[in-house]
């Protein structure tokens, strides 16, 4: 926790748009660390693997909040991959909380989730390993001071977990930068003289990468790099009730932060989450197959649709959220500009929404003129 921004810690946290997990949950991490005392753990880890699990999945009895909705087995596999010094690759549809999970894991294991490389078509080796402060380079030569470390360099030096977001969006040759680092755990700095020519990773260093299955996909990764990672697929939330709870909690949090004192009524929430759940799974609650949409219809999108509907209702419609608001923001954000998705959504209305009982579903159906 090295956020030195000149403000008092409490105020800094309150004014931050989005504090890092280790700052937000500093208290929980501290308590877990105390409870772990001297229990054995992988070298360089702040917490024992069991406490890492507890931190992520929560434990009501110990006052640890649940932060991630997902299968325990999957989490156990993730933690074991990191504990056995293999890289961890989280893959899945957009909006399945991959990045959030990697943040939580990094915060729990290293106490620092800020060593992030954001993968993009323009990511260069500089942004991954290190670059130079050219003024100092010219003045002093390739010294320690002249070197500007990038997240990977810093993680190796400090023995911390480095997060590589959207790794498959990087060109292959950039991805492969990781090859020797993950297998030999050493980075060559050929410009430096003997003492700094090799950066050996300290214990505790590891990499969590995330990749989006809707993007270019993991199939384009080199086999060599794949071998150095354990892959875990983060599925969308399978249990619709858990998803409803999550969407409720998150929309309320967002609305509160925007100073909007309303919440989604349960009937509206049910319409929202059921619609997302069914369209995402391409299957209705009673087992009828639907044609899949090209959009992922993720939980994150459900939250933003619920949030937008709340804002809309508050400012323009006396604060009562109606199904029509849902449909408007659904069309605006999730469906985007795909005519065939619009067609499939219309089909969903004609065959599924139409048959549903209850005032909210009926009002949702009536709103179909928006389509």
């Amino acid at each position: 926790m090295t956020h030195d921004d000149g403000l008092a810690p409490g105020r800094a946290l309150a004014e931050m748009q989005r504090p890092a997990a280790e700052a937000l949950y500093a208290d929980e991490l501290a308590r877990l660390a105390v409870a772990d005392a001297d229990a054995p753990r992988p070298e360089g880890w702040r917490l024992t693997p069991r406490s890492v699990l507890t931190f992520v999945l929560g434990d009501a009895a110990r006052g640890i909040s649940a932060k991630f909705v997902g299968s325990r087995r999957l989490l156990e596999r993730c933690v074991v991959a990191l504990a056995t010094s293999r890289g961890l690759m989280l893959i899945g549809e957009p909006g399945t909380a991959k990045s959030y999970l990697s943040e939580l894991l990094a915060a729990a294991i290293s106490g620092d989730s800020t060593l992030v490389i954001q993968g993009s078509a323009g990511t260069t080796e500089d942004a991954i390993k290190y670059s130079w402060n050219y003024a100092l380079l010219l003045a002093e030569g390739p010294t320690e001071q002249a070197l500007v470390p990038a997240p990977l360099y810093r993680g190796m030096r400090a023995g911390k977990v480095v997060r590589f977001e959207e790794i498959t969006r990087c060109p292959l040759e950039i991805q492969d930068t990781l090859l020797s680092i993950l297998s030999d755990r050493v980075m060559a700095v050929p410009e430096r003289d003997d003492s700094g020519r090799m950066l050996f990773a300290r214990v505790g260093f590891n990499v969590i990468a995330t990749a989006n299955t809707r993007d270019r996909g993991v199939n384009e990764m080199s086999a060599a790099l794949k071998r150095r990672f354990n892959f875990e697929t983060i599925p969308p939330i399978a249990d619709i009730h858990l998803e409803m709870e999550l969407v409720q909690r998150e929309t309320e949090r967002l609305l509160r932060r925007s100073g909007v004192p309303i919440s989604l009524p349960p009937a509206i929430l049910e319409v929202l989450v059921t619609t997302f759940h069914e369209l995402r799974a391409s299957k209705t609650a009673d087992g009828k197959t639907l044609e899949p949409l090209s959009t992922a219809m993720s939980t994150a999108e459900a939250v933003s649709v619920g949030y937008a509907a709340g804002i809309h209702a508050y400012y323009y419609d006396q604060g009562s959220v109606a199904p029509a608001h849902l449909l408007q923001s659904l069309l605006g954000s999730a469906i985007k500009d795909a005519p065939e998705d619009r067609e499939r959504l219309r089909h969903y209305f004609n065959h599924v929404v139409k048959e549903r009982g209850g005032a909210a579903w009926r009002a949702f159906y009536e709103a179909r003129t928006e389509l």
Partner: protein, 773 residues
């Protein structure tokens, strides 16, 4: 919990087990050797007691005790009590022999239970799985589900003493029972019966008694016999008595072979402890004092992977082993166990996205090893399984017994005796009994010729006949019941296909099954719902409509369950009709599909309450969809017209929207195929088409011509003649068309010429004769 239930030094010791738990089997053995009881009382069918000796023969496990009944509506149902080597009940029988104890089954005979309708696996553990206590405990102990919880508490740790295992199972089951919202009347009746059996053993046995029952019942029995309060509340026992609405008129019980695969496949209410291959190995290793079970199984899995052409390198195996051990440590287990291996392989070897319900081949190989491949066999000298006796009896009763020289049997299904024989033969076919083959007969799927309903069977003795009968015995005790179970299994193996579902239903009708097979219909409904292929659903619709509306011989007409499935298929077809897209090269199927939908609606509107307005709304949308193919739009318009849901003005409007030369013919093809009658009755439509065609210039006309020709080929020559007359009548300048005179001789010549032509086409393999495209 009353502490004295844990006392193993008393006269009566309650041994709680989970069926098919190796640790519980070991517990039974340990207690029996320690106490040397005079009697071991086991939860098992007490009507098998006189024949317990049959279990001593050298059988190859797994085997099962089958209990079956014939009910007063002449249906047969069966239930099974499967035994593996590591089953606590099996080990209880073995150890009774070793220590010279008297072994007895003490459960109520299955025929006196009310659950014929639902559960047929008597060693399932539904009570344990469904308890609200389990999710709480799982969260507390940090495990994912009941099976992992059980493994963690009872199976994995080799250092647990028998006393610890006993206490853990008692505690777990006591709390499950105490938090149950409801104890079924059937359980209470069974427990009362078991308590009476224990009392009578207490009165006669000259020594300690071990009572080996499902842990769910242990405390209840203990409480009854020791007059302490039961675990559950009074409200939980207050469920109203279930009435036995069916009375068994005949019942029986016998041994039958069983199989690992079948034990592993049980789900839902029937679910027990899965992975018999894994637990068999774990049981054997424990007995031999080995703790490297996972390594042996991993080696087996790798061999299986390689057999399937997958590579698992040494580096991969090191990664799996490391990961499995780390997982076991993280989960607080002293030994690597089943789920650790699954997770280790999932985590380290699979390098791609796993879809929620697809499994990776590597994982499949591992699960195959865990599933086990053993098939049981009864020792020589055991009475044949009931199914085999039933097959022999049925064959004899219908004079169908196979003879060494094969014979052909022609059956006219309209005759009741032949129908009964056909049903027996179809049941044998469904079960895969060798030596019975349907060579030819009525084509149920094409339905071109239904004048006589007949079949020809080839019947002959095959050396595999007896073996295939015994193999099929795992499906049930009677031919009908077993064939039903086999159909349900086949349906379960399909993922999604309405067409295949309809074929299974046809099989059920041919075999005279299905009236009692709620499970089959449930599955078939799911298959229809999952199917996303319009054509497959439409074909199924045709088959189902035929069965429901017209199939008298097989007794399918008007059957309520088929009706429900028909409605489901109809609705699914409407659903998919709108997502049809642009199917190419399937024009005939498409038109047949539309026709099937219209026919179903017309035939089923009154009988099944099908919604004509809903159909009309869907067709209206399809007819108006500008992006759709003209053929689809024409067919939708034609269907609306035929159903009386569109007036001729609407038809002309639709026609006008598909009037381009490249569209017109396709549109009319669809229209005429679905509304041939209406099209002839409305001269204004012909006039409108005429006006459109006359408006084409030469090039446009040539472009439109081939499709137009195809469209008008839906009419017979006489109909075309009539249309031409209508057209000319509107044209004052044109001469009237003479009458079309066709004498019998001319017609015969035309038919003969056509037959020669089609024959020639068929001979040269050009578009396959009368059925060709």
């Amino acid at each position: 919990m009353h502490p004295s239930i844990l006392d193993t030094a008393g006269r009566t010791v309650f041994v709680p087990v989970r069926h098919h738990s190796p640790a519980c089997a070991q517990l039974v053995r340990a207690l029996a050797h320690e106490r040397r009881p005079a009697a071991i009382l086991i939860e098992g069918p007490s009507d098998f007691n006189e024949r317990l000796g049959e279990l001593d023969l050298p059988h190859t496990l797994p085997i099962a005790i089958y209990s079956y009944v014939r009910l007063d509506d002449d249906t047969r149902r069966g239930a099974f009590y499967p035994f593996c080597e590591y089953s606590p009940e099996w080990q209880a029988l073995l150890v009774a022999r070793e220590v010279g104890a008297h072994a007895r089954f003490i459960d109520l005979p299955w025929s006196a239970c009310a659950a014929f309708r639902t559960v047929s696996h008597r060693y399932a553990d539904r009570e344990l799985r469904e308890s609200p206590y389990i999710p709480t405990l799982c969260r507390r102990l940090g495990v994912e589900d009941f099976d992992s919880l059980w493994d963690l508490l009872v199976e994995i740790d080799p250092a647990l003493t028998p006393a610890q295992v006993l206490e853990r199972v008692h505690q777990l089951c006591y709390h499950i029972r105490a938090t149950s919202a409801q104890i079924s009347q059937e359980d209470l009746r069974r427990e009362a019966f078991m308590a009476a059996q224990i009392r009578s053993a207490q009165a006669t046995a000259a020594g300690p008694i071990l009572v080996v029952t499902g842990g769910f019942h242990s405390y209840a029995l203990f409480a009854q016999l020791n007059e302490v309060a039961p675990a559950e509340s009074d409200e939980a026992r207050a469920e109203p008595e279930e009435t036995l609405n069916m009375t068994p008129v005949e019942q029986g019980i016998a041994l039958t072979p069983y199989a690992d695969a079948r034990l592993d496949s049980l789900t839902g209410y029937e679910a027990g402890m899965a992975s018999p291959g894994f637990y068999q190995r774990a049981w054997a290793d424990r007995a031999a004092g080995r703790a490297d079970t996972h390594r042996a199984l991993l080696a087996q899995a790798v061999a299986e992977l390689r057999r399937r052409g997958q590579v698992a390198s040494t580096a991969d195996l090191i990664a799996v082993e490391t990961s499995a051990r780390a997982l076991a440590a993280l989960r607080g287990q002293p030994q690597v166990w089943r789920q650790d291996l699954i997770d280790a392989i999932t985590g380290t070897l699979i390098k791609e996205a796993l879809a929620p319900d697809t499994r990776h081949p590597l994982l499949d190989a591992l699960l195959a090893v865990f599933r086990g491949a053993r098939r049981g066999a009864l020792a020589a000298g055991t009475a044949l399984p009931p199914l085999v006796r039933d097959i022999h009896a049925q064959l004899a009763a219908h004079q169908l017994a196979p003879t060494s020289t094969s014979r052909t049997l022609r059956l006219e299904l309209a005759a009741p005796a032949d129908l009964a024989r056909s049903r027996v033969l179809h049941r044998l076919r469904i079960l895969g009994i060798r030596g019975f083959e349907r060579r030819e007969g009525t084509d149920w799927l094409g339905r071109a010729d239904l004048t006589t309903i007949w079949e020809a069977w080839q019947i002959g003795w095959s050396p595999d006949f007896d073996a295939s009968c015994i193999e099929a015995a795992i499906y049930g005790a009677a031919l009908g019941e077993a064939a039903t179970a086999r159909l349900v299994e086949q349906a379960a193996a399909l993922e999604r296909s309405a067409e295949r579902a309809a074929l299974l239903l046809l099989d059920a009708c041919l075999a005279g099954l299905g009236a009692q097979a709620a499970a089959l219909f449930e599955r078939l409904t799911a298959l229809v719902r999952h199917d996303a292929d319009f054509f497959s659903v439409a074909v199924a619709l045709g088959h189902l409509l035929y069965l429901y509306r017209y199939e008298d011989t097989l007794g399918a007409v008007g059957r309520a369950d088929i009706g429900v499935l028909l409605v489901e298929t109809f609705e699914r077809a409407l659903w998919l009709l709108e997502t049809l897209g642009q199917p190419q090269g399937r024009e005939r199927e498409l038109l047949r599909a539309f026709a099937a939908i219209v026919q179903t609606c017309e035939a089923g509107e009154r009988l099944l309450g099908l919604d004509r307005a809903e159909l009309a709304a869907v067709l209206r949308r399809a007819a108006g969809a500008t992006a759709a193919r003209p053929l689809v739009r024409g067919a939708a318009t034609g269907a609306l017209w035929t159903l009386g849901a569109a007036a001729v003005d609407q038809v002309r409007a639709d026609l006008a929207s598909c009037a381009a030369p490249e569209q017109l013919g396709d549109f009319l093809t669809g229209l005429f195929a679905l509304a041939r009658e209406s099209a002839q009755r409305h001269p204004e439509l012909v006039a409108a088409i005429d006006a459109l065609v006359m408006g084409f210039d030469d090039e446009a006309y040539l472009q439109a011509l081939p499709a137009l020709r195809l469209a008008f080929s839906f009419f017979t020559p006489r109909e075309k003649h009539y249309l031409a007359r209508t057209l000319l009548a509107a044209e004052p300048a044109a001469a009237a068309l003479p009458d079309l005179e066709v004498g019998p001789a001319l017609a015969a010549r035309a038919l003969a010429a056509e037959a020669r032509l089609l024959g020639a086409l068929a001979r040269y393999g050009i578009r396959g004769g009368p059925h060709g495209g």
